[in-house]
Symmetry: C2
Subunit: 400 residues, 2 copies
């Protein structure tokens, strides 16, 4: 017998049929003798419908009132799921964010969890009830309702698992686990049995939309064992934990991110403070920068290249041109037709030759590399966007 | 400057246009220098939609989970209304039942209010904010969400008005006030400027669907001055209070109730305990009895006639026939084709001749009376259902 926290997303509870299927997973887990706490998201398009309703009334409502509105979505999910489980004859109770003492900051729309009291959850578990919790929501010190922003329901599940010292936190999604590569790009992508928190973090930030970074970070900090698995196919998923068995392969995944643009500043003066001036201009406009590379230019100048989200590309070019004299560059070049392809693996630290294997794969596939960036467990390259899927296929063939 | 509680029902906030109209009423009241607390119901058909969703999953869900589900409807209303008021540039905050400390019994689906803390409302009023409150909902001693059942939002408004010692509690509806008679039956029905709590109670229980009895009783107990008025037409409505100015007319209203059936038991033994036996049988089957009349029958027997809700008619006949020997009657006659027509007026106590004026009107209109029942401020008659509207018109002409 174990204490298991399960999380189901909006698509898993989108209609009556899916609610019944999920109720079956929950009650099977309970009937096997486990204590079960379940975190649910709003049904399918509920959140979008509510946002649309609000927009008709006020295109710019306060975030406090948006949270008051949006938090109803999860409340509807938990009560409907409770009814489905009652129908199966098992004891169940649904609880909102404030009822479980999910205390957050007052950053409406994007609140951070401060602590989870969870007394009420413990009481209900002691009574042998299945406990359903509204994800994505909490209350702040004013007793106002907050929402946690993107990935909020995953984060709710991990925070509750941490607070209850749960044995396992299962994140149910519409995929069967974490793959070595996007199965839509690479049909023979392999599902991983295990992956480390750090690898998962790199994969998450690289656009593999399985788990949100916040939840993985929280799981790592409190040592919550995660499992990513499918709510449609009943088989083991991918476990995310601190240490995994040594695998034959040196990398655990390949990810693609096309929401990226490359900006190059050419002919900067080679003197202290230049990089600072560049990134100060960008940060004033709240533009986040990802990969940064600096190289020697012609005639004692230097060049700086960096990537930004594609949605920030035009703004970044505009503000840099406006501050051309302050920053002091000769020319600027901007390219949005690129993709970032990354390989991630805790094993690569101790395995020389991983990078060269990747570059060899790209050479074989005749893919030109625009930019390279490496960390201890990750190697990213920028390639022309039209070559990205070919690059991924070539890398996957080389490693797996 | 006054403290005013306003309540708007589901049809008043059914769509964007109506929400904007109500936002105009609220902000005008606020801008005139008043403190304003507003109680809202769920939008139009929201509650029905949620009930339907639940029924698809479980035809017999627990009431606790139904309350968890249904309470989202009012939460959606208050947040959308807050956004509409923000759009008009005025300070506003929306609050749920638990946020205002609306403490109720644990009778899910039909909870009674125990007390309203209302501290949060006072704090927000001190900050000169318009306060929007979700009607119909509260929390019990377990911190679980409850709903108040029929007339719940009216009751919420009156309870808050009582707790805050508000100067006035305005109940906005789709009619312009309380009429001497249903305007659909009697086009020249007059709107009353004032009416007493007691008269309103009699009218409410007689099927004039303006205000629910629970809210009027609560207003009477705590001396909350009520006003019933229209959210579509901006003009004064009807004030409901303890004492009203003496009017020329002796009655304040005429009401019709067609949800009534008459059952007559004939040939009961004329001995003690007979009435007890009749009504014990009915009460075991949870059948409520309204008017009761007992009369002398033939040959030393007696007859008992009474009315029940039409929906209980068949059940009442069935259980009485099953207990024919225990109760001891010779025959039973049942009639569902009747209506109860009542006149109500605090003035009739001190005005002899009101009853005879009513009977004269019915005689003039050639309406046969089946049964008569009187109280201090009410006279009800049972008439054939097809004669009811003609009876009302005749009475109205006689009195007004």
């Amino acid at each position: 017998m174990a204490l298991i926290v399960q999380k189901f997303g909006g698509s898993s509870v989108a209609d009556v049929e899916r609610i019944r299927r999920v109720a079956g997973i929950i009650t099977d887990t309970y009937s096997a003798g486990n204590d079960v706490v379940v975190v649910l998201s709003a049904q399918g398009d509920t959140t979008d419908d509510l946002i649309e309703k609000a927009a008709e009334i006020n295109p710019n409502p306060s975030k406090r009132e948006m949270d008051m509105l949006l938090s109803t979505g999860e409340q509807i999910s938990i009560s409907l799921m409770a009814m489905a489980i009652e129908q199966l004859g098992l004891p169940v109770v649904s609880l909102t964010g404030w009822q479980i003492g999910m205390q957050t900051t007052a950053d409406y729309g994007n609140a951070r969890i401060i602590r989870v009291t969870a007394d009420r959850i413990r009481t209900e578990l002691d009574r042998r009830r299945i406990v359903l919790v509204a994800g994505f929501q909490g209350i702040d010190k004013y007793d106002d309702i907050t929402t946690l922003g993107r990935g909020g329901s995953d984060t709710t599940a991990v925070a509750i698992a941490a607070s209850l010292h749960a044995d396992l936190c299962q994140i149910y999604t519409d995929v069967e686990g974490v793959y070595t590569c996007d199965p839509r790009i690479m049909p023979d992508a392999k599902k991983l049995d295990e992956i480390t928190y750090d690898e998962m973090l790199e994969l998450a930030s690289l656009g593999a939309q399985v788990l949100h970074n916040r939840s993985v970070e929280l799981a790592k900090r409190y040592g919550v064992k995660l499992e990513v698995l499918s709510s449609f196919v009943r088989k083991p998923g991918t476990q995310v934990k601190e240490v995994v068995k040594v695998e034959q392969t040196k990398i655990s995944g390949i990810a693609k991110d096309t929401n990226v643009a490359r900006i190059a500043l050419i002919g900067l003066r080679d003197e202290p403070g230049v990089a600072f001036k560049v990134f100060r201009v960008l940060s004033r406009s709240k533009i986040n920068v990802d990969i940064i590379l600096q190289s020697i230019g012609r005639d004692g100048t230097k060049d700086i290249s960096f990537t930004v989200a594609k949605s920030d590309m035009e703004l970044a070019e505009k503000v840099l041109r406006e501050h051309k004299d302050e920053v002091g560059f000769e020319d600027i070049s901007v390219n949005g037709d690129i993709a970032k392809v990354s390989i991630v693996g805790a094993g690569m630290m101790t395995s020389p030759g991983v990078a060269s294997l990747m570059f060899e794969a790209l050479y074989d596939a005749k893919v030109n590399i625009n930019m390279i960036s490496t960390s201890e467990i990750k190697i990213s390259v920028l390639v022309p966007v039209e070559d990205a899927d070919r690059a991924i296929a070539a890398i996957h063939r080389k490693f797996f």
